[in-house]
Point group: C2
Chain length 474, copies 2
């Protein structure tokens, strides 16, 4: 793979490495970019993306590369270009160019890494993501992580210097610097273009995959990729629906949860719209309720606010609305306290967003949960991925939703405690809704919330007007 210079000036990466060095008080650290991953044989690989920590401190997608250093002395170790690279992969940036563009002291052949490590009294590291890289990391550094640990996020055990490194990286990446925000805004702009194209491509008789294609084409045209598996479905009640083969029918709502990866930085946006361009009264009622929850939650994004309280605020808005509609009976505060809202809103209101769409989830809950805080055991809130006090520069998603999930509403254990609170007859009138979610990317600033995805319409009438609309070529 040819390696391109990073998208931003060397000073960006120099500054990040130097802030890290200060936090580590001069202790050395090592980051692995990760390897190319074969799709069906060695030469047919998945699109390469460097691991996020490596990317944060270097800006380059460089398969197999390793960043090692401390203080101002950072070096990249990489495989030298193969003799026939110019034929097959064309002219790459030279090592001199890459050295200048990343601002590292030197770029050295990977073969010298062993000796460089031997000269140190130990080095802090974080678990590599790709299994092959992790195996190499284990043999180089003697770290005890098993080959399968990454499957259990939330349980990554780090000790000593590694734990200190994790805390230092998290504290840097939690509050985005200006260059990060520049790319995050570009990513949000890609998401805007995608969602508008998706709305325009929607009409009865087409398939989910037609809309997904229209959305992802806008990403691709900008040199971006999907930041995660796009969800484009009339079965919004399936939270991580992976298939897009269903036909679009006039009475359906289409839920699109699609974000772009822009030079490694993610957006994460959900909009829901009626396939026909017209809401039924029941669809409109629940949609407006989700929008209210989105707005109530977004308005709370400011420094010092505990994120779990935003989750509970969205839950309360939803519970109150469901009481107003007669689907729930009783006191909204009490319903939320007992977790009744989770029958219709069974996930968290959002998560960290940055290089990763669930930012730093490779470190389990270390990034999302402040020290001393742990996941709730209550159904629904147990899925909340973030419980920190917000600070300026933190970017979070705000993504309340309402879903009629047969697997929940037909589950006695889940519904039993709330059966008396639930008017199933009233609920039956809303059977033309399967799932609605409205998700924005919200930056915490001293002045309050800055919605990076504000340009993507969310008002019910505005959204409906865009469905199936003819579009000028941009």
């Amino acid at each position: 793979m040819s390696v391109l210079v990073p998208p931003q000036p060397a000073a960006v990466y120099v500054s990040r490495r130097s802030r890290l060095s200060r936090a580590l008080a001069g202790e050395p650290a090592i980051f692995f970019a990760g390897d190319l991953v074969p799709r069906n044989y060695a030469a047919n690989t998945y699109p390469y993306r460097a691991h996020s920590h490596f990317l944060y401190f270097t800006g380059v997608h460089w398969p197999g590369a390793v960043l090692l250093g401390s203080g101002d002395g950072w070096e990249i170790f990489a495989a030298p270009p193969a003799p026939d690279d110019p034929l097959w992969i064309g002219p790459s940036a030279t090592w001199d160019e890459l050295q200048a563009a990343t601002g590292v002291r030197k770029i050295r052949p990977l073969g010298e890494l062993r000796t460089a490590l031997d000269s140190l009294r130990g080095v802090a590291t974080l678990p590599a993501v790709h299994p092959r890289t992790r195996a190499r990391q284990a043999s180089l550094l003697g770290r005890p992580w098993g080959a399968h640990d990454e499957a259990e996020s939330g349980t990554v055990a780090l000790a000593g210097k590694d734990a200190e490194l994790a805390e230092a990286v998290i504290s840097l990446r939690l509050q985005h610097d200006a260059p990060a925000l520049e790319l995050l805004r570009q990513s949000a702009e890609g998401a805007r273009a995608g969602h508008l194209a998706g709305m325009a491509a929607t009409r009865p008789g087409r398939r989910e995959s037609d809309v997904r294609a229209a959305i992802e084409a806008e990403f691709a045209a900008r040199g971006m990729t999907p930041a995660y598996g796009s969800i484009v479905t009339v079965h919004g009640e399936v939270l991580h629906n992976e298939h897009s083969h269903h036909p679009l029918r006039a009475g359906d709502l289409l839920l699109a949860d699609c974000g772009a990866d822009c030079h490694g930085w993610a957006s994460d946006v959900t909009r829901t719209w009626p396939v026909s361009g017209a809401w039924s009264p029941t669809q409109r009622a629940l949609y407006d309720l989700v929008l209210q929850a989105n707005q109530d939650a977004t308005a709370m994004v400011r420094p010092g606010v505990r994120y779990r309280d935003i989750h509970l605020r969205a839950s309360l808005t939803l519970a109150r609305g469901l009481v107003d509609l007669g689907i729930f009976r009783g006191d909204p505060e009490g319903l939320v306290e007992r977790g009744a809202h989770a029958l219709f809103f069974p996930h968290g209101v959002g998560h960290l967003l940055g290089l990763d769409v669930h930012d730093m989830e490779d470190l389990g809950d270390r990034a999302g949960y402040a020290p001393g805080r742990a996941r709730s055991r209550q159904f629904g809130t147990c899925y909340l991925r973030l419980d920190r006090d917000l600070a300026p520069g933190m970017l979070v998603t705000i993504e309340p939703g309402l879903y009629l999930v047969p697997a929940i509403l037909g589950d006695r254990a889940l519904c039993g405690p709330f059966e008396a609170d639930l008017d199933r007859e009233r609920l039956a009138a809303y059977a033309d809704v399967r799932g609605i979610r409205i998700e924005d990317d919200v930056l915490c600033t001293e002045a309050g919330p800055d919605v990076l995805t504000a340009a993507i319409p969310r008002d019910a009438d505005a959204v409906a007007a865009l469905v199936g609309a003819p579009r000028d070529a941009d």
Copy 2:
């Protein structure tokens, strides 16, 4: 991930397993589907695709699943669904449905695999593709493959029963059955739609990525994915160009090498067209020459013909044309014998095509090279991936090209032996060509070549007329 039933009737897979069983004379074999691969953390994975051997015999993309059996007694071992799967991934096919749709005797929990293996006196297997799966395979079966072997295709060492299994699988997959051809034709139809959309989306001022987006959107709309990293570039001289950020300028040729993955089956198509919709005389001359080579090579596809001879035939057409144009001097046969053509045509004329775009390349050259045949050492022909005698049902690509590669034409070691044969002054007149390739998917039948991609225009005038053309929505 939810698991869907296979796209074709159970009888397709039953028949393939039973043909395999006969070839193995009742010896048991085991195939691994492979695992989900994390992109940047455990829950954000690359789009899953089962490994091709598993897919051939089951039709299902089932992460972590294992097919084990012999004779008529084949079973799939898989992880039981998680309790909260219905919430997150929605209703999957049930094990009963999957058992019926794949025709296996039984589907059993993965936990029972160890015991099932212990009851056998050994089992034949092929190296798994994904590193994590390979590690699991090694610990289950005690196979000595290292974790990094898959990086060196061409050198996969298999012994004893494993080698017999490889030969049996290769002999089945080399000659496609009717159900395979049905999906391969659908994949070729996806490629047709993509390339036509790409031609229509081309105009000066746009970027390569706009055209790539248009092509891949046609795949996505059909529920297909790119079968390999799409190459869409005005730098066709870079054979495996991975980047699509260049602007399209009026004098450029655009080379698009894009194929679809349809239920795991690949197409692989290249077309080259002028960005402006008009060929310069020099571009047209070289284009027509490549087309002639494509047609000469395609015409040779019939049972019993040695594929290397097709490669040499294409090389001869190109050499003859280059002599006619005055770029080479001398005798075309002699030039090809000495390898002079490879200065402009430095790759093989094609390869096997099937589930994999380089079919069965996970087994190195075992599938591509008949026993007793090995790669040439001559520059150019050393890159030929196929040297078998063709047989009915074999699907190959025919993809001659002409490239002006600075890394070759400026290399003294490569050009030295041919400097006297080369008229560099004449060559300089063709500087507005960087790379041209015309690639089709050609099925070998008793009646001769059946070009699956025949519906994608390749005549110079026809192609030019499609560039930037307005298109009806399909």
